[in-house]
Symmetry: C2
Subunit: 324 residues, 2 copies
């Protein structure tokens, strides 16, 4: 945060990476991890406009145009909704890689929303901020999927129970003993392309297996039963197709499960992969194992070991004072 | 139980009716209700054989042959397993209609197992009795589906999480406030025929909806959230096809939901239908509403209003002493 925080006033918020689908809940489940995440700093300015004045960490890939960047879109909508006169200058520090399957666009939007809401007097609850985040994602990606934005904002594990006629969701208790290994390999998969791989129908046997898995996973989270969770972490919908975009995925999966990883799954639409374990050392070993496979394929990667994030996006600095 | 209990020694067990699928969990969810149920009485005899000496309430439809009746099959297997010399005389009192979708064959098997296990010295736990019940069902129906036998034996709501390589399951907390209306119309649907109606594939949109429903239902049961439960009670797999076998089903469903029933679903493979409500009076009104539709179609029916049964099959009389 050095680049942002030195000598600053304004409000800085953090929004965590999220793992969409969690293997068993395609388009329905999502969860937040403690790290990495995006930081957004907002400062009141003296014109009436929203400006994105700088983006760090995106290698110039993201638009500074407020109408094309989720961070800009949400802040503009929020300003209008709250009928505020003064504009905001936004600095975005992207620790989340783009097109990584880690909820990067949702995190920018959510961090910007939380920071802007705070500087505008904290008028809205997190629940009230949800529609702004979803609208921004829809505007950028063309479709609304809350499995990143909701856990990013609220933390924990979120189950979306309906998309229509309106979005409904429930927070599922995060199992206490779980460690999450999240590995980001340095290549991109476009969400639209990954979505195009999903078959239009599914064999009934697999439908029933998938139903059993998501139901068992949810039961395992409520009862803190790691065996049920482990058993439920299976994906008959997206993984069979999308895993082909990740070299050595089947071998990687076998190796991870052999050393105690509950699973190897694709985070969101990939290419990041994740695994649950019950032990931090095993989580680290799982990360190294995945890394080894990527290296063999000449792909560099970043490993993140984290608990499930329970609080979601939050203000981390206000007027130069850390509030973490 | 008059016909059985007068002047008797022996052991009598009760096994409850069960609702397979519970709309959102095709082949995975099942639950027990307090009534109706089957009663099985066993008496030690002086030969080495298992005999079914009488069946009441089946209108002569069920076989007295111990190798063709689930009650006989399980008791014979149990006797062999326990290496018992003395045989048993079995009297079966069927309060559950046959081919009704209420787990009739499972209830006979389970009541017989629980009674026989008791008279043979209570050597096995309920969990240990499960394989006997499943084998008997498989022998009679040609396939193993635990969604009746498991809740019948154990009570409550059961989620089957795996069929292969071995059957695994978890008990889901029964929501406290729920009343169940179960209505049996006087016609039969063969399980095999109903199974033949299930399509071989499902559209992905419906797969995702079904996943959301079963996951939301399970979350609702754990958190005692009736809105989630209500929202989850939807069936995109079997109901669209099987409901065509039940005259006026769509109209009935609409009427039931209008007066406060959470849903109208098909119990197992039908033709019995069920609904959840949060109020006993509403549960009764729901029953009357369903009855009205069946009457209009010149079909008589029986209505059962019950809580979710939490204890499953049990011994109700031993050596002339009630143990209820």
């Amino acid at each position: 945060m050095d680049k942002i925080s030195v000598g600053d006033t304004g409000v800085t918020a953090f929004a965590p990476a999220t793992i969409g689908n969690i293997s068993c809940g395609f388009d329905l489940l999502g969860m937040a991890v403690n790290e990495p995440g995006d930081y957004v700093k907002v400062n009141l300015n003296y014109d009436r406009k929203i400006n994105i004045i700088r983006i760090d960490g995106d290698n110039g890939k993201l638009p500074l145009d407020v109408d094309k960047n989720t961070a800009g879109i949400v802040v503009k909508s929020l300003k209008k909704h709250l009928q505020k006169g003064r504009g905001l200058d936004i600095i975005l520090k992207k620790d989340l890689p783009i097109c990584s399957g880690m909820g990067s666009s949702a995190a920018s939007a959510v961090a910007a929303l939380v920071a802007a809401n705070q500087i505008y007097g904290n008028k809205l609850t997190k629940e009230e901020l949800i529609p702004f985040a979803l609208q921004a994602e829809a505007k950028v990606s063309g479709s609304v999927h809350g499995d990143n934005a909701l856990p990013c904002l609220l933390g924990g594990i979120i189950l979306i129970t309906n998309y229509k006629p309106k979005l409904t969701y429930v927070s599922i208790p995060a199992p206490k003993k779980v460690w999450v290994t999240l590995v980001h390999p340095d290549f991109e998969i476009s969400t639209a392309m990954a979505r195009g791989l999903i078959p239009e129908t599914l064999e009934m046997k697999k439908v029933i297996r998938q139903n059993a898995c998501i139901a068992g996973f949810v039961a395992g989270c409520y009862s803190n039963n790691l065996e049920l969770i482990k058993d439920g972490l299976k994906d008959y919908i997206a993984e069979p197709k999308r895993s082909k975009l990740i070299k050595s995925f089947p071998q990687m999966k076998m190796a991870v499960e052999k050393i105690g990883g509950f699973n190897l799954g694709i985070s969101g639409s990939g290419p990041s992969v994740f695994s649950f374990t019950a032990d931090k050392n095993v989580a680290t070993k799982v990360g190294r194992t995945i890394q080894k496979f990527f290296y063999q394929n000449k792909i560099s990667c970043q490993i993140y070991i984290s608990r499930i994030n329970k609080e979601g996006a939050k203000v981390v600095k206000a007027d130069g004072v850390n509030v973490m």
